[in-house]
């Protein structure tokens, strides 16, 4: 209960700050972003995040499944090396490289973000699938399930919590990365922050920063509840008790 209260107060004050800054209208020589512009920026921001995430999921889950199959497991060490190095590369650099390779704009931002998101999704899918007790798979095989039945009825439901965790963290990270992408002309809330910084206009920086923070927190909570729903009930019980 206390938690919800904290969350609500936090989100409410971020929204109030945004509204306040927007209502300022003019600060000195400069005009704050009007509310219509702000709304379309939020929309663009979400568009970047969700498109990049969907792309990464569409590619990452099949790759994760493929890597977890026995014949391709040899690729796994390469994957883990790539993931651990990939995590140290700042998003900023990736966004920069893609803007140079593909030009400024939305397209290169989305590609950069989905490449950045791909690794955690592949890794979590792979980890979720290989951590399944082999005896569970053996039982499924012994009862006469076909390979695809085993994958969809047994393996994927059991890997779901880890896959969902990967999607959740990467989505939240992408809200931030999308803001950074504002500097390569991808639009979104990052653009407002960047404009504010270059104008040394703290009010405008806040006007972009507060909704970005609210968006990240909101998506995190939202995806947490989605992840809980996606986890089969029996699995939640066994995770809580520490053993299957």
């Amino acid at each position: 209960m206390k938690r919800h209260l904290v969350l609500i107060i936090l989100l409410a004050s971020l929204c109030a700050l945004t509204g306040w800054m927007t209502s300022l209208g003019r600060v000195g020589f400069f005009t704050m972003a009007p509310s219509a512009k702000l709304l379309s920026a939020v929309e663009e921001h979400l568009q970047i995040v969700l498109t990049a995430e969907l792309l990464a999921v569409a590619v990452g889950i099949p790759v994760g499944i493929a890597l977890s199959r026995k014949s391709l497991r040899r690729g796994a060490p390469v994957l883990s090396a790539m993931t651990s190095i990939g995590q140290t590369v700042p998003t900023l650099a990736l966004v920069g490289v893609f803007s140079i390779l593909m030009g400024l704009g939305l397209r290169s931002a989305i590609v950069a973000l989905s490449v950045y998101t791909l690794l955690p999704i592949v890794r979590n899918t792979y980890a979720g699938l290989v951590s399944i007790d082999p005896r569970v798979k053996e039982a499924a095989r012994g009862m006469g399930m076909s390979t695809s039945q085993i994958l969809w009825r047994v393996e994927m439901p059991l890997a779901a919590p880890l896959v969902m965790a990967g999607i959740r963290t990467s989505t939240v990270l992408n809200v931030g990365s999308a803001a950074v992408a504002g500097m390569i002309g991808a639009g979104g809330l990052g653009e407002i922050i960047m404009t504010g910084v270059s104008l040394r206009l703290v009010e405008m920086v806040l006007q972009g920063a507060a909704p970005t923070a609210a968006l990240a927190i909101l998506l995190d909570r939202l995806l947490e509840s989605v992840a809980t729903t996606a986890t089969p009930r029996g699995l939640r019980l066994s995770l809580r008790r520490g053993s299957p």
Partner: protein, 378 residues
């Protein structure tokens, strides 16, 4: 029902896990594959439902060569139970139990009924409550029962079980074995059961196939295995188990009734009957005036009014024990004797004591209790 002909499995890398095994399991028979770890018993089991592929030889199930069947079809016809971990943690008990019926597209109403019937059969009552639970909400013993129920899901004629009671405490295991025997008497499946526990093998099996290094060493009934071990390996294996070892270290002398109730050969049947009643026994040894053991007198052979001497109604003995005989041998002899009682005699065949099942079991129980206690401590 199941026929293995000269079956061999060589794993990549050259390990001969199963080496020329020929074995037939008849319909309704409970066959135990017994042996030390690494003897190939599990591999043999898994060859039957093709979880492991054959290198050479042939296996037929219900007269059909298993290679001719689609592998998923074959497996759906054979129940398969492994240690409890094999339950699907994300499915309810009901979903677990009707896994195979679902694969076989049984109608929903039939599946529902099947799940409840099976839970009833396995004593998971009230079934209506258990169907909704998840494996995480069950005790170890309950999970094991669900595992067996799941194997019985589509009412297969054949059950393959790989140490299904292996991961639970000895007391629960004992109870599950008893219950499974009861169920098996009811449903009469053809069962192939893997274990390394000789007690479990003796208790459950109609016949035991003892394996060593991939080869079948002896395929016999439990009493034959105990009484007539085929070679030193069998003798050793039958005796390496701790309880049996303890039995081997105990001699008949230590547990026999040294002052048994006896009947003289000139006494009347009526007197014998009174003696049996007062001792609460159904069989008594008969001795000559010199104390030489002559045989047994059974309750069925006597009546209270009979005044004839017992001498004419003696049941001859088939086996005799001596004081220094270890208990595992005594047990094997008793399984073969007509009366289930062993007379212990000296060199002149004079009766010096009697060993009954009750006394032997008391000894077994004590050893077993000590073993459980020491396992709990460690």
């Amino acid at each position: 029902m199941i026929e293995l002909r000269d079956v061999t499995k060589v794993f990549p890398g050259g390990t001969r896990a199963v080496d020329g095994v020929t074995l037939a399991v008849h319909e309704g028979e409970f066959c135990v594959l017994l042996g030390p770890s690494g003897c190939g018993k599990t591999t043999t089991l898994r060859l039957i439902n093709r979880l492991v592929s054959l290198t050479s030889g042939a296996i037929a199930v219900g007269g059909q060569d298993i290679q001719q069947l689609r592998v998923t079809q074959l497996r759906r016809r054979i129940g398969y139970a492994i240690q409890e971990i094999g339950l699907f943690p994300h499915m309810t008990v009901e979903q677990n139990v009707v896994t195979v019926p679902r694969l076989l597209h049984w109608p929903k109403a039939k599946r529902r009924k099947r799940a409840r019937d099976l839970l009833d059969l396995l004593g998971l009552t009230p079934a209506e409550e258990f169907v909704r639970r998840y494996p995480a909400e069950l005790s170890g013993g309950q999970r094991q029962r669900v595992g067996v129920a799941r194997a019985l899901g589509a009412d297969p004629a054949i059950l393959l079980m790989d140490e299904p009671f292996g991961a639970i405490d000895p007391i629960t295991r004992e109870r599950l074995q008893d219950e499974f025997l009861r169920i098996q008497r009811e449903i009469r499946k053809t069962v192939v059961f893997v274990t390394h526990d000789i007690h479990e093998a003796i208790k459950l099996g109609d016949r035991i196939a003892l394996m060593k290094e991939g080869r079948l060493i002896q395929h016999a009934s439990p009493s034959q295995l105990l009484g007539q071990p085929a070679d030193d390996f069998v003798r050793g294996f039958v005796g390496t188990d701790r309880t049996l070892k303890a039995l081997r270290l105990t001699t008949v002398h230590e547990i026999m009734d040294a002052e048994p109730a006896v009947v003289g050969e000139e006494e009347t049947l009526a007197a014998a009957q009174r003696e049996m009643d007062s001792r609460g026994r159904s069989v008594l040894p008969v001795v000559s005036t010199g104390g030489v053991f002559l045989g047994w007198i059974c309750r069925s052979a006597s009546s209270e009014t009979d005044l004839v001497p017992v001498g004419g109604r003696i049941t001859p003995y088939l086996v005799l024990g001596s004081q220094g005989m270890p208990l595992n041998e005594a047990l094997a002899l008793m399984l073969e004797s007509a009366t289930g009682t062993l007379a212990v005699v000296d060199e002149e065949r004079r009766l010096i004591g009697v060993v009954t099942f009750d006394r032997l079991f008391e000894q077994l129980r004590q050893t077993y209790a000590e073993r459980v206690a020491s396992e709990v401590e460690s």
